[in-house]
Symmetry: C2
Subunit: 346 residues, 2 copies
């Protein structure tokens, strides 16, 4: 962002900005009938639709000291697409609202939109609308994602049943350790702006935090293998919080096997370096955007065959509670320590 | 808000807050399949759908010094429904994202939701989802509205044609004069907190600003009379700005007759008191949320028969420009001086 032209937003206004951001914005999905430029967008789906929205607030959800604007735009889309995939649906459209203070230039907003458009291309989603306005302070991004699926294939959180297999995609805790790293290096930088920032060798966990991906591939695998999970949720607040959502809404218990919880080597090593038990990164660290789901036993082999799906537990009768079976052979009640943007951290 | 119980948001967290806000939230529309409580809401429409979103930022779009929280919740929904009606569609679902600082209590957020729910009841809309999170400062509300209509009845901005009649519902400029009043009385109050705040006798214009309504009735009249406007837009930024949107997108000119522009007596009198030309309130004042539309000449009688529709001009060839025909018999080019949240006011 050095030596680039700085155009003040106030010099072109809302309509000028929208024109500049949305020129060459093509609609690729047949369900996207009319995009930006009217009072509302128009869509038409033959299937059932899922709709989700997430608001990202500067200083709460992201820190621009270490978050590139393009990554921020990309991530703001991905976190919403992840919610669509967690319904076993395919995202087709997004709408983006941005409130910005005048400390941002037009070029800065274009960076955000470059990230938004990159996510749209990668996931085959159309940007069909939104809103752009001023804020007194800070940057706020609200994204809405709309997806579609046949009703019998839409997966809720409340249909897990005793005997089902608990699975998760990818690995957990990485985004949290990436955040921990970035926050430490920010402090180093703030304390001594000329100090070396040491992010080398941490590409994986930093990438998990700054540029997460949604598990489109897993949903495509389900379709290909004709698997419909009995319940599913995306891991945005931490494994324990998400597992409790499934168990409470399904009225079941669960045994989660610590030894099976997938944690990447880099996450594991970095956790130890920070004197954090790696399993706690997975249980309580948020923003991995993996899929936590349960499948009927008949689909076990299909889950096992996928290299990026881990079998991490079993659904039990509700009276058996929600337990972590530790490496040491003990049972612990799982309680929600996941990220809650509104709760006291104390 | 005096002497009410104050519950800190941090004491119940995001999920506790969502539970408290959304208990007893019934889904009334058959197209609303699944509401709050999963990764995404589920809807199913046989018709085409319109989708719109607006973000309201404290200090930019509202001032809590004179905006009751319940009104704010109500208005944040109505401004989005207005966009749905402006497509000649009927709103069915909304999603609401709120970012709040901890200066707000749970009870304050409940006030906002009371207003949101009141608007849902009045307009027959289901609250199906959203997001609630913290902000460092201020209150931000993002609302998404989804409506439906047969594709051949959806009305865009770009199909006005030469010879069409230009119409507007209700009256214009009132919301702007209400805002002007409120801002003056705020200054009086800030300068001398014990001074009398004089809002009596200004109920209409203050109401237009604080508790606007969307013109559901006009859309119902169109359906009943089998009228499909050739173009339509809602008046959120001022008549001149909206008319220019229609004319530019339709590639037409227009004659707007000053004498026909509907301005309420209270708006008119208050404008003169503030030494503002009343027509400028209508042309440049925003937030009236009336519908500006064009109809084919064959539908003129139907428009004339409605007591709350004014015939205010005629669509002309593009080469004739977009002109105001003044009471004095002169023609003036109409330029956009409407509210633009991102442009310098200078």
């Amino acid at each position: 962002m050095e030596n680039v032209k700085r155009t003040e937003i106030s010099s072109i206004g809302e309509f000028g900005l929208i024109d500049r951001l949305t020129s060459n914005n093509l609609l690729l999905n047949t369900s996207s009938i009319k995009g930006i430029g009217d009072d509302a967008a128009v869509i038409k789906s033959e299937k059932h639709q899922v709709v989700t929205t997430d608001i990202l607030v500067e200083g709460i959800h992201f820190d621009l000291v270490y978050t590139p604007l393009k990554h921020l735009g990309y991530k703001s889309v991905v976190v919403n697409l992840s919610d669509v995939y967690a319904m076993n649906a395919l995202p087709k459209q997004i709408l983006v609202s941005i409130a910005i203070s005048n400390r941002f230039s037009v070029e800065a907003i274009e960076e955000i939109y470059d990230g938004i458009k990159l996510a749209c291309e990668k996931y085959g989603v159309d940007l069909i609308g939104g809103d752009t306005t001023a804020s007194n302070k800070g940057l706020i991004i609200n994204v809405v994602a709309i997806g579609e699926q046949d009703i019998e294939k839409i997966v809720y959180r409340n249909k897990a049943k005793e005997g089902d297999i608990l699975c998760v995609s990818g690995d957990l805790g990485g985004a949290y350790m990436g955040l921990t790293m970035l926050q430490r290096e920010k402090q180093v930088y703030l304390n001594a702006p000329t100090a070396d920032i040491k992010l080398e060798g941490n590409d994986y966990i930093v990438g998990r935090q700054l540029k997460p991906e949604a598990r489109k591939d897993i949903i495509e695998y389900f379709a290909q293998e004709n698997v419909v999970p009995t319940s599913m949720i995306d891991v945005s607040d931490g494994l324990s919080s998400e597992l409790l959502h499934i168990c409470r809404q399904s009225n079941v218990g669960c045994q989660l096997n610590e030894v099976e919880v997938p944690i990447a080597n880099e996450t594991y090593d970095k956790a130890l370096e920070f004197h954090i038990d790696p399993i706690n990164c997975a249980l309580s660290g948020g923003e991995d955007y993996e899929l936590l789901f349960t499948i009927d036993k008949k689909d076990l082999l299909k889950a096992q065959q996928h290299p990026d799906i881990s079998i991490i537990g079993e659904i039990l009768d509700v009276n058996l509670g929600v337990k972590l079976f530790t490496k040491g052979g003990n049972y612990h009640d799982i309680i929600s320590l996941g990220w809650d943007g509104l709760k006291d951290e104390a």
